[in-house]
């Protein structure tokens, strides 16, 4: 079954229909709202995500969240939306090919140019914008914050955060609410998404709708998935060899990038509890003390325990081909360099303020022990990683900017032209 070409469907549960009918027959003048039950359209073998008691999914919420995700009024100066740093054609990671003021290149000591996102005040973000894919199956959000277990809470960080300022909405909340309250599209969408709320135009409801939309971003139709479902022609022989290597004890990749979404940060209804794991991969080892650069010290920032220095989430590898640059700080430019880092068992930075031999980081994961690859093996692994690219996900119109052409939230059409080298171009 081709689940991606179908729209999500919403069915009325039989019992609700029945109770509606009964209620109608006994009290015909009473107004009744019919609750729709949300149906996750998933391929076989994919477990259902958890239902959030305080924010059950609905088509109306997803639709509202989609408009909000692309709405620049959610930033302090009206220039940035969530989509400014999360582009669909990059699996909702940042796109270095789009010059919208939200990204610039910087330098990492002696290593090379890297790309960093920028907020509305021009403040550089220390971290790389993450891809947004299959978030409904994730246990924690952002690179290393163990406290953020819900997207509705996470949404407050880019919206209101001051360290760094991202969308800079703080202090402009009432302006935003006043604007959306009079927007005819929102006048239709907010009450539909939150029929029980007397006043649905609040920041709380905005974050709930954003959560619903982001949980609806589902990608299980990469060549790898089709291969798993029995289509053996979906993977090249090179990608199949790369898959063997990826799941081998020699390379150990799968220990951290395992599971349904190639991350141990996993949660769904069949798990007794969420799986949570942060790891240090030896990307830095400043002064031989195991330290990571300031503002990018991972789990340590939260626990203040030195053994948590440099521990970050192993991000999902779905669509990883599209999400360069890599690592929490965007300091690795391409997949080849990612393999350099892991084959060396950690990165060595020879000079500058962050010099150090990453492979000797005392807090490093035991699975990052290094390996040697022949050129063919390297090519095979990269072929496998590229088999995780879901071109239907990144072109799925359900996730695209819904605002009408000419609206302030609809970017210039030039911005939307995919560059010719995009792997999903025919």
């Amino acid at each position: 079954m081709d689940f991606h070409s179908k729209n999500l469907t919403y069915v009325l549960s039989f019992s609700l229909c029945l109770s509606t009918l009964l209620a109608c027959s006994s009290a015909p003048t009473e107004l009744l709202t019919i609750q729709e039950e949300f149906v996750w359209e998933l391929p076989p073998g994919v477990p259902l995500p958890r239902e959030l008691a305080d924010n059950p999914m609905s088509a109306a919420k997803i639709e509202l969240g989609r408009y909000l995700f692309y709405d620049k009024r959610l930033s302090g100066d009206g220039r940035f939306s969530c989509a400014s740093c999360h582009h669909q054609r990059r699996s909702f990671a940042d796109d270095p090919h789009i010059d919208d003021g939200s990204m610039e290149s910087s330098h990492l000591g002696t290593v090379h140019a890297i790309l960093r996102p920028y907020g509305i005040t021009g403040e550089e973000h220390p971290r790389n914008a993450m891809a947004l894919v299959n978030l409904a199956w994730q246990s924690t959000y952002t690179w290393a914050n163990p406290l953020l277990r819900k997207l509705r809470t996470q949404a407050l960080i880019p919206l209101l955060g001051e360290n760094p300022v991202e969308m800079g909405l703080l202090g402009h909340e009432s302006r935003l609410l006043a604007e959306i309250e009079v927007d005819p599209i929102y006048q239709r969408l907010f009450p539909k998404a939150f029929p029980d709320r007397k006043n649905p135009f609040t920041l709380d409801e905005i974050t709930l709708a954003l959560e619903a939309f982001q949980r609806s971003l589902i990608s299980y139709d990469a060549p790898f998935d089709r291969y798993q479902r029995g289509d053996h022609s979906a993977l090249s022989s090179s990608a199949r060899r790369g898959m063997e290597l990826f799941f081998s004890e020699d390379l150990e990749c799968f220990h951290c990038h395992g599971g349904l979404n190639f991350t141990l940060m996993e949660d769904h209804r069949q798990l007794a509890e969420p799986s949570i794991d942060f790891a240090n991969t030896g990307l830095y080892n400043i002064g031989g003390l195991g330290l990571y650069p300031p503002q990018n010290q991972g789990l340590f920032e939260f626990t203040q325990k030195i053994m948590d220095m440099g521990k970050f989430k192993a991000p999902s590898l779905r669509n990883v081909e599209l999400t360069a640059p890599y690592m929490h700080d965007g300091s690795v430019a391409n997949l080849d360099e990612v393999l350099d880092h892991y084959s060396a068992g950690g990165r060595t930075i020879s000079s500058g303020p962050f010099a150090g031999v990453g492979s000797a980081n005392p807090f490093k994961s035991g699975f990052v022990k290094g390996f040697t690859l022949t050129p063919q093996e390297r090519a095979d692994i990269i072929a496998f990683l590229k088999s995780l690219t879901d071109c239907r996900f990144i072109t799925n119109p359900k996730y695209a900017n819904p605002w009408p052409a000419g609206h302030r939230n609809k970017p210039d059409p030039l911005d939307e032209l995919p560059e010719s080298s995009h792997p999903c171009n025919p």
């Binding site: 910087s106 403040e123 955060g161 360290n163 703080l170 300031p294 920032e301 939260f302 203040q304």
Partner: protein, 320 residues
């Protein structure tokens, strides 16, 4: 569930005892005035202040952006050793349970157009206390939002705990204190490529005091923080006096002409943020992280949640 019921019964019990107790002892109204100063001068958003910090040859000039902090658990100590709790008036705006917000910025002058600032101000704590046998000699209070209120859902919290600008969604707790200013002397980085700063934020020095070392589930209100960062203040005090919070004293040992060494602009409470060191000591808080040692150092005072003993060495508060 059993635990909750017991807890409720306990609460009811405590409450009824307090009621009985109330009838026995007369209640006195109290107003405890606070003042924000910069040295001997009153704090004003419209002014700039020179001679601030430890820059050799006379300090630096600063312009204020914000000056707000939470306080809780007020109590008096008498010459007989009695400890008298002050019960805060529940005013629906500045005071809730045992916590109050003191707000000295009025969104004017340099503070205008700073995100999240408000025109309203609040300088006075209103409460009641039971008449003690002895005479009041000392006042104690704690800076910050108490632990039991610190990790609730801010979106539905009552005033004064509902201000986004005083909440750290990132660590799911409040900014115990928010004291921001700019100084042309202060350059935000010695490594511009890595600081996360830009021309727009040059000179900005933010003091955001809050709990760190937090684990748990933020959105469920169960976060636990190992570094509480709540200064416990004890001052010699008699009724009618004013408690002064002095920004000049807080910054007295920080050289504002030195570039921000690492991390966020100013001090955002991390034990690895070099700009926190002197500020923390002047709050009377420990600052213990030593990157040369890979063993976490013991923190004597921060580990205790509340009023075990007063913070020593604080310079921020005095009585006038």
């Amino acid at each position: 569930m059993k635990k909750i019921s017991l807890f409720l019964i306990n609460l009811i019990y405590i409450y009824s005892c307090a009621q009985l107790h109330d009838e026995e002892k007369p209640k006195l109204e109290i107003e405890i005035p606070f003042a924000a100063k910069v040295g001997s001068e009153n704090f004003s958003c419209s002014r700039e202040y020179s001679g601030i910090g430890a820059k050799p040859g006379g300090g630096s000039t600063i312009k204020p952006h914000d000056f707000r902090f939470y306080v809780h658990d007020f109590e008096f100590v008498t010459n007989l050793g009695e400890i008298i709790h002050v019960k805060l008036r529940q005013d629906g705006s500045w005071q809730y349970e045992n916590v109050a917000l003191l707000d000295f910025e009025d969104n004017s002058g340099h503070c205008a157009n700073v995100s999240g600032n408000t025109a309203a101000t609040n300088h006075v704590i209103h409460g009641t206390y039971e008449k003690p046998a002895g005479s009041i000699e000392k006042i104690r209070f704690v800076v910050g939002v108490p632990e039991h209120l610190n990790h609730k859902d801010r979106a539905v919290a009552p005033p004064p705990l509902n201000l986004a600008s005083l909440h750290w969604d990132w660590t799911t707790g409040y900014k115990h204190a928010r004291i921001d200013f700019v100084s042309d002397d202060f350059k935000n980085s010695n490594n511009e490529e890595f600081s996360g700063q830009s021309a727009n934020s040059t000179g900005k020095f933010n003091i955001h005091l809050g709990a760190t070392g937090c684990t748990g589930v933020g959105s469920q209100g169960t976060a636990q923080c190992s570094v509480k960062n709540r200064p416990v203040i004890e001052l010699t005090f008699r009724l009618g006096q004013t408690i002064v919070a002095d920004l000049k004293e807080l910054l007295a040992t920080t050289d504002l002409s030195v570039k921000d060494k690492n991390g966020p602009k100013g001090c955002m409470s991390s034990q690895t943020d070099p700009e926190c060191k002197e500020v923390f000591l002047n709050f009377g808080l420990d600052f213990h992280f030593d990157p040369q040692s890979t063993v976490p150092t013991e923190r004597r005072r921060n580990l205790s949640s509340n009023t075990v003993y007063p913070t020593s060495g604080q310079k921020f508060f005095r009585v006038e």
